[in-house]
């Protein structure tokens, strides 16, 4: 066991603080983008409409692969919605948005500082930096932002910036305020290579679920707007003009959710292999196991919903949101209030 490096640990906390501060500014930039770019989008739309003598079209269906059931609310409304929508459903970069650019740049900067924080924490402790709740939170927030920025390379998901950065800030603050733990060694129960495998996949899947949660919320808002427009209501969408159609959001979050679901399946499986090693049984309905199971079943239900007539669209989005709520419960309520074998929260008693 390597000795603890306290100085490095203090540096790590400084980096975390700086990263969180940068994220706050990035969050503000994205929020500014959200508040103002609705207007830009409106202007662009009318310009475009004039030019083409056609209402601004959002391009064709996404990939055209999925033919939505005709009874679904999407197909009825999406055409109408597209009329006043600018966001491209292929999620390619189209409009120039200065504030959003600043947001992305600051997020990258924050991520670099954050990376320094995570790495120094790991080096200071001489092990992987995910051994207690403070570390899950900080490393998890790192992954959330990283996954978001990586997706940005291929898709214009900047409309998610406010949500993602907001969540990252919440996680960093929670880590520093509620879960703060000084650098230390692992208790014997956690000294296993399974910690590296099991927890890293859990945190990664949770980061993906965080993205789809944000998209699910947007999808609900967007589909309400689409329904309103379809019913002949006035479009007061603002920012939502930059957000792709509810159907596009649903398709993309489904794709991410499938990956995250496989990740979660692996988390549960590796967890039970580890449980067998540590406690002699691979499944024992410990509170943590119960909630991991609940999460798994809810997302399995989500996948089934997507294949069931009348359960796509809004209902599927709700299931994805409920699943994420369970992820949060599993991390906070279960760790803090339910005593079980998983008492690795590392919280000072």
């Amino acid at each position: 066991m390597l000795p603890i490096n306290q100085t490095l640990g203090e540096y790590s906390e400084l980096f975390m603080l700086l990263a969180a501060g940068t994220y706050v500014v990035a969050f503000l930039a994205f929020a500014w983008d959200m508040a103002t770019s609705g207007k830009t989008a409106q202007r662009d739309a009318s310009l475009l409409a004039e030019k083409q003598k056609v209402p601004a079209m959002a391009g064709a269906d996404d990939g055209g692969s999925r033919v939505p059931p005709s009874s679904s609310s999407h197909s009825a409304t999406s055409r109408a919605a597209r009329v006043s929508e600018v966001a491209d459903s292929s999620l390619a970069y189209t409009t120039r948005r200065a504030a959003a650019r600043v947001g992305v740049a600051l997020s990258i900067l924050g991520l670099l500082i954050h990376a320094a924080g995570v790495v120094t924490r790991g080096v200071a402790a001489g092990r992987v930096p995910w051994g207690n709740m403070y570390e899950f939170c900080t490393t998890g927030a790192f992954l959330v932002v990283a996954v978001f920025l990586i997706t940005l390379i291929k898709r214009d998901l900047r409309f998610l910036g406010t949500f993602v950065l907001g969540l990252a800030v919440v996680m960093m603050v929670a880590a520093a305020v509620a879960f703060w733990t000084p650098v230390g060694h692992l208790v014997p129960a956690l000294q296993s290579y399974w910690l590296v495998i099991h927890v890293s996949i859990a945190v990664l899947s949770s980061a993906l679920f965080t993205l789809t949660f944000s998209m699910g919320v947007l999808q609900l808002i967007q589909s309400r707007r689409e329904a309103k427009i379809a019913a002949g209501g006035e479009d007061r969408g603002g920012f939502l003009r930059l957000v792709p159609s509810a159907l596009t959001l649903e398709t993309l979050s489904y794709r991410i959710n499938t990956i995250a679901f496989v990740g979660w399946t692996l988390t549960v499986m590796f967890g039970s292999i580890w449980a067998e090693k540590a406690w002699g049984r691979f499944w024992g309905w410990d509170p943590k196991e119960v909630w991991s199971f609940v999460i798994w079943v809810v997302y399995a239900a989500y996948l089934h919903a997507r294949a069931t007539r009348g359960w796509t669209g809004t209902r599927a989005a709700w299931l994805s949101i409920v699943g994420y709520a369970c992820v949060i419960v599993n991390f906070t309520v279960v760790n803090v209030y339910f005593s079980g074998l998983h008492s690795y929260a590392g919280l000072p008693t």
Binding site: G63, L266, A301
Partner: protein, 557 residues
């Protein structure tokens, strides 16, 4: 594919492939009823509903202590809540995962699943062996569509083109059915399909889940588990009497126990002495064991650690707890030794403030009992109350109350070794008694007033709590789990696609080709596949890149 309600439409869907859900209300008598119930149970909506129900039903198990995990806590809860505790108990809130309602949900779910998987497996078997579906009349209606034109000077011809295209598709993993043109102006065409693995994966995934469930059941039937505390120097022999607690599976027979033995030679603990925030936190527990597979076989040295079980005699032995066992000698009023040996104490906190109970039923003339604390590093606070300051035995001390009378051990009722029922005993020592409490440092002896006996604290040992498990279903559960996972990955990420091409000879000698693609299930890469096919064919026929035509919805990824 009656259950795939959300598939992209197959160009012509035979009538009988309508969704199962829209079954009319039964007017068919009993058999009809059964049939109707079965169709309902195996519908996708029911599966969805049962899944959600299962998620909800699992939650109470985390809100209430569960009997199989912590029976003592449940008993305590029932004592503390005499009003609604019994109602919760009636509702099986303390046995959620073996409760009637939880079992009903998952059994229904699995019946539904089997009812779902079998017809699908048959359908898939047939699809696997039959040819790709016939070429639709109007390919341009498919989600991805395109055309290619081979100039006259190539002299290709529809017949030859279709053969070459078939070769290209085969290389891309398609199953290809070549359909030569007929006499009556019917054009040559190709029907192709790929991604059968998707559906196979789905079937493997779902049937693998059944396998996991069965494996768990096998473990519950034929496995067993037991607990044993072992003090340094003691030996455990794997027989029923060797266990402190034994939980056999429903069909377990004790004759299956292999009589191996485990001796605890030494138990080492290391604490964190350098990081201020975690000072005194345990860093390492290591038990040194001597094991023998059977009484006659040779001894083996093994180390047991947390996270690192020892396998012996078909069982796995786990280190799940540890504590101190003060060695004491109790003498009766007659001066004879009534008890001598280590007493395992129960740690209550991270500095091993431990409770212990000493029973000396052999003490004469009256039986003796002691209840109290063991403190590994005893320190006195300002008001003179002793507490432990550290988990290491820096200043071991016993703080005891003593009792005289009938301990009630001969009645045959099972007794908890960590508890003493003092209601019928006479207390001799205690903080509020004239004699005061007993405080013993290592090596000291205390004599009870009125010649009722004595107790000495002779030394200190450590003990380990061992869990011993045998689960024959475990390997199977892992196997089926991995099988399921592989199926899941295939079913989510292998795209299933149908592709048709039609070939025609133009009067001016050009060869005209049109193609259309259709996805079955979620598929974001269909348009890209269309482009890839297009360029592969263009390459074969030496066409320019700009000959490309748009697909009907050519955007996408």
């Amino acid at each position: 594919m009656s259950l795939k309600t959300q598939n992209s439409k197959t160009p012509k869907k035979p009538k009988k492939q309508r969704t199962r859900n829209d079954v009319a209300l039964p007017v068919l008598g009993f058999l009809g009823m059964l049939r109707w119930a079965w169709t309902q149970l195996t519908s996708m909506k029911t599966a969805l509903f049962l899944l959600l129900l299962l998620a909800v039903a699992a939650v109470p198990g985390s809100l209430f202590k569960q009997r199989p995990v912590d029976p003592a806590a449940v008993t305590q809860y029932l004592k503390d809540h005499p009003d609604y505790g019994p109602i919760l108990d009636k509702l099986q809130m303390f046995d959620v995962y073996s409760s009637v309602w939880f079992s009903a949900i998952y059994l229904l779910l699995f019946i539904s699943l089997i009812g779902c998987v079998i017809p699908r497996a048959i359908a898939h078997w047939k699809a696997w062996r039959s040819k790709p579906p016939r070429t639709p009349a109007r390919l341009s209606r498919l989600p991805v569509y395109g055309t290619l034109v081979v100039p006259a000077e190539e002299g290709l011809g529809a017949e030859e083109a279709s053969k070459q295209a078939a070769g290209v598709l085969k290389k891309r993993g398609y199953r290809v059915d070549l359909r030569p043109g007929g006499e009556k102006a019917a054009l040559a065409s190709i029907g192709a399909e790929r991604g059968y693995l998707r559906e196979l994966g789905n079937l493997c995934f779902h049937s693998g889940l059944v396998g996991v469930l069965v494996s768990v059941a096998i473990g519950g039937l034929f496995g067993y588990s037991g607990q044993r505390t072992l003090v340094e120097g003691e030996t455990f022999v794997n027989t029923l009497v060797g266990y402190d607690q034994f939980n056999p599976g429903t069909d377990f027979q004790s004759s299956w126990l292999q009589p191996y033995s485990i001796q605890l030679d030494k138990f080492d603990v290391r604490y964190d002495r350098e990081s201020p925030g975690h000072f005194g936190q345990p860093l390492d527990f290591t038990a040194s064991l001597t094991t023998k597979d059977s009484p006659g076989s040779e001894a083996k040295q093994q180390t047991l650690k947390v996270n690192d079980p020892v396998n012996v005699g078909g069982t796995s032995v786990y280190l799940v707890g540890n504590g101190y066992a003060p060695v004491v000698t109790v003498r009766g009023g007659d001066g004879k030794i009534a008890f001598q040996g280590p007493i395992p104490s129960l740690p209550t906190d991270s500095v091993y403030t431990s409770t212990l109970v000493i029973k000396a039923p052999d003490a004469k003339p009256a039986q003796l009992g002691f209840v109290g604390f063991f403190l590994p590093a005893s320190v006195k606070d300002s008001s003179g109350v002793a507490y432990s300051a550290d988990p290491d035995p820096l200043n071991p001390e016993l703080n005891l109350n003593s009792y005289v009378g009938d301990l009630g051990l001969d009645k045959g009722a099972p007794q908890n070794v960590f508890a003493l029922d003092v209601s019928k005993l006479t207390q001799v020592n205690g903080r509020d008694k004239p004699a005061g409490g007993i405080v013993l440092d290592a090596g000291q002896t205390y004599t009870l007033p009125n010649g009722q006996g004595s107790i000495s604290f002779d030394g200190l040992k450590r003990y380990v709590a061992l869990d011993i498990h045998h689960n024959p279903g475990q390997v199977w559960a892992l196997g089926f789990g991995v099988f399921s996972l592989a199926g899941l990955i295939a079913s989510l990420f292998v795209p299933r696609r149908r592709l048709w091409l039609r070939f025609g000879d133009h009067e001016d000698g050009r060869t005209m080709i049109e193609y259309g693609l259709l996805a079955r299930g979620e598929d974001h890469g269909l348009a890209a596949e269309g482009r890839a096919i297009h360029s592969a064919l263009s390459k074969v026929w030496g066409l320019e890149a700009e000959n490309r035509t748009q697909s009907t919805s050519g955007k996408g990824s």
